[in-house]
């Protein structure tokens, strides 16, 4: 890529589709849910049956406006829905209800933080509301002689609300183009997640990215011919796709050939894009305003009510937390990468120190989660549990080693930390009599060690603490044991 970028300047553009997590679909009252029995989350309207009409889901509009506000967009005073027409079996009506002009939100920007903390501003052209299509499954022949195969259509996803976020062309990223692509998609994901307008699970297609790439000679003002790589569905993949496309296009241009305007597909295994269908700007979808739906007219009160519900911008929040918690840059980056920012924040809010919260979420909890192949927040250990464990350590009910065991038992669903400690009798032995007896026994069994301590070798105390801990099954407070030994020898 380095060679390519000595000659060419990459121009990027992204179209990100975000599936909203409303209860019902955008234009029908069918359930918006993933993975149910095929063709069960449908109304007659989702199947394009005669006489049916669309209805507009208020939540879908609200979510669209909130997302627009989070992207610093202007909210359209009046917008409406349009029919984008093409025949395809996954569209029950053979048109997609979308928004031509204006979109519900337009003219915004989003600040994207690169790996070194540099902020890159990406301008947002528009964010419009539309509906998803159904799902096609290609199957083998079923007893037919001539047919190679058939396709099955499930309309459960047809009509699921989407917001399509369209960036303006992005110049100036240079060799950081792949990094920017990754960071941009991650930023969008973080924003929709913080807004709670989408489940934001890229592996499930809740967020899908089309990446436009073109090259122009360095110094040129005229954009080159672009390709659109469809449905790149992870932050890692979008970086790889952009890099691969920059390299491919540079080779084509270097050979004196022209870039074909087309859609391309990201091939995860080959780590490269492959050619799809030719695409021209002249694709005629015969858009026209849907006469079955009436305009969306926003006013100040509506927009301000939604603005008041916006969470803190994720980038600003990260900066604030890093400062408040006084983590080093690398510590903080690890926390973000591990996806436990929310958990640590909740744990701190619940009363733990930032350092303790980080220790648990990045330590034992992360370790167990990793072992089980789940995410730390999905393990079943709550921020309140972490606070409770810290309290049990502080009041010397348990020690660090026992605490780690307690986390494991909580993760197994044995109850809250206090309940686990009780049920499993894990509280430290604080009975002085029992401890004194154990110390006496250890001293009697190791007279040479006692002599060495008396001779000033204080570090030999450890050789007595070990047997005491063993005798108390680890449930003794090592500090107190040390004190007792020194009192006796002292």
């Amino acid at each position: 890529m380095k060679t390519a970028l000595q000659t060419y300047e990459p121009v990027l553009g992204f179209e990100v589709h975000v599936e909203l997590n409303t209860v019902t679909k955008m234009f029908s009252t069918a359930t918006n849910a993933f993975g149910d029995q095929p063709n069960s989350n449908v109304t007659a309207g989702d199947l394009g049956m005669p006489g049916t009409l669309p209805t507009i889901n208020q939540a879908g509009i609200d979510y669209g406006i909130k997302l627009g506000l989070a992207l610093n967009c202007t909210i359209a005073p009046e917008s409406r829905f349009d029919r984008k027409q093409y025949f395809y079996p996954d569209l029950g009506k053979n048109y997609q209800t979308s928004q031509l002009e204006p979109a519900i939100a337009y003219d915004g920007y989003v600040d994207v933080e690169l790996d070194d903390g540099e902020i890159f501003r990406v301008e947002i052209e528009r964010a419009h509301i539309e509906e998803d299509a159904g799902k096609l499954t290609h199957i083998g022949s079923t007893g037919r002689i001539h047919d190679a195969s058939a396709s099955l259509v499930d309309y459960n996803r047809a009509g699921v609300p989407l917001v399509e976020i369209v960036s303006r062309p992005i110049t100036g990223a240079g060799e950081r183009a792949p990094e920017l692509a990754r960071a941009y998609l991650a930023t969008i994901r973080d924003i929709v997640k913080a807004l709670n307008v989408s489940d934001a699970r890229m592996e499930r297609g809740n967020i899908r990215c089309d990446a436009n790439v073109s090259l122009m000679p360095i110094g040129s003002e005229t954009f080159g011919t672009r390709t659109e790589t469809k449905n790149v569905n992870s932050t890692r993949a979008v970086a790889a796709a952009v890099e691969s496309e920059i390299i491919r296009q540079a080779k084509v241009l270097d050979a004196g050939e022209a870039i074909t305007q087309e859609t391309r597909h990201w091939d995860e295994e080959a780590r490269s894009t492959r050619s799809g269908r030719p695409k021209s700007d002249a694709d005629d979808y015969r858009y026209f305003s849907d006469p079955d739906l009436v305009p969306i007219v926003t006013d100040e009160a509506w927009i301000e009510r939604l603005r008041a519900e916006l969470p803190e911008n994720p980038l600003q929040r990260r900066r604030r937390l890093r400062e408040e918690w006084a983590f080093s840059e690398s510590e903080f980056r690890d926390v973000v990468a591990a996806g436990v920012l929310d958990e640590i924040e909740a744990t701190v809010v619940a009363g733990a120190t930032a350092e303790a919260a980080r220790k648990w979420w990045m330590g034992e909890i992360a370790r167990i989660a990793n072992e089980k192949g789940v995410s730390p927040e999905g393990l079943g250990v709550t921020p309140a549990d972490v606070v409770e464990i810290e309290r049990l350590i502080a009041d010397k009910t348990i020690n660090d080693k026992i605490a780690r065991q307690v986390v494991g038992h909580v993760a197994e669903g044995e109850g809250r930390p206090t309940e686990v400690v009780e049920a499993r009798s894990l509280a430290v032995v604080s009975d002085e009599g029992a401890l004194t007896t154990a110390v006496d026994e250890a001293m009697a069994a190791n007279p040479d060690v006692v002599e060495r301590i008396k001779g000033g070798h204080m570090q030999a105390v450890g050789a007595l603490i070990g047997p005491v801990m063993k005798a108390t099954k680890g449930q003794a407070d090592a500090g107190r044991v040390r004190e007792i030994i020194l009192e006796k020898i002292g």
């Binding site: 007659a44 199947l47 005669p50 049916t52 009409l53 053979n94 005629d284 026209f288 849907d290």
Partner: protein, 424 residues
Amino acid sequence: MHLTQLTATDMAAKLRAGETTAVELVQAHLDEASTAFVFINADEALAVAAEVDAGKYDHTLAGVPVVLADVLVTENMPTAAGSAYLDGWVAPYEATAVARLRAAGLPILAKARVAEFGMGQESGAHEAVANHQAPFAVVSDTAGTARHIATETGVVAVKPTYGAISRFGLVAAVSSMDTVTPIARNTADAKALHQVMVGADELDPTSVEYDWDFSSEAAVAGGTIGVLTEQPADVTDEAWATYQAGMEKLQDAGMNTTEVTMDTLGQAAQAAHIIGAAEFSANLAKFDGIRFGNRVTPDNGTVQDVITASRGAGFGYETKRRIIVGTHLLSAGTIDSHFYPAQKIRTAVINEYNTAFKSVDAIAVPAGIQQGEEYESTNAGIGASLAGLPAASVAGVHICAPTYADELVYRISAVVETTAGAAA
């Protein structure tokens, strides 16, 4: 008098007086059933009538039978909208207007023959009402067609304000003009049927919220009606005489008349044709042979071939022509030269009506003018559809009034129909 000769209102009165039964009324009409109907719902209609007779419903029209044009989607009865594509299809849901008729206890006698997707002069419902096979019926009026056929068959059709009656379950032809419309042999019966179906519906976002009141007994005296004072070239002497008779009745009833001309209506037919064909082409895209309807599978056909062949076999020539014209009108270039200007003409028509209604309460013009073959209606009939106005076709007169003034249209219609020839 034979039961079928009564008005719906009289049928209802006789039922309440115990002078007849709902079963007798339904049976009397079933005995007259003809080729106006594509599906006769005898068993269910008689069963509902028996329930009415057993006292299950308390609506004043309970037990008075009704006929539905076959563009209204019904459960348990097929809906084909006059198209081979849909032939045999039975819906798993029902039109809101039909649901309201059922809830009021009106037995549904039959589904009536329609032109394909309701776009044309064919209407079994009008025939049936005119021939006493039903006291009244529910049809669709898109750009004046139902009002025009009413003139031809001598029945009363009153298109409500756009959105007054839900379009949910009305097989869509032209979304922005389609109107569920009552027809009857007199104004009072149309008004009674209208009231059963009127009212906002959450299934139709274009249905309107309005506190409808049809109870006014007020006279039309003192109101002003916009009229034509000179016979237009395309109005026959006979039609002009009928119109003038109607206007005299209004004057006799104390209405002031004043001349109104509507310049924008000169382009109303073209605008309605453009908008109509465009919306029609998109509304019919869902008929693709995949989820419902009749599929045609060519040998070794792809899915796109199946769609093309199914639509080719299922649609008649006029439907195909309208879709192809509409597809063209929404295509790049033509959308700018034709479609958007037509939508602007629509604005101009609405503006001109609004201006006119500052000086008149309603406008009456001759109903009987032949225009082209695409939309056989008067410019005034088309204008009311473009502007969403309530409009009646009664005794050779077309009456329209401002949106939401449906009740006024009925009161004026009731006066006009007292001219000779308008009777139950």
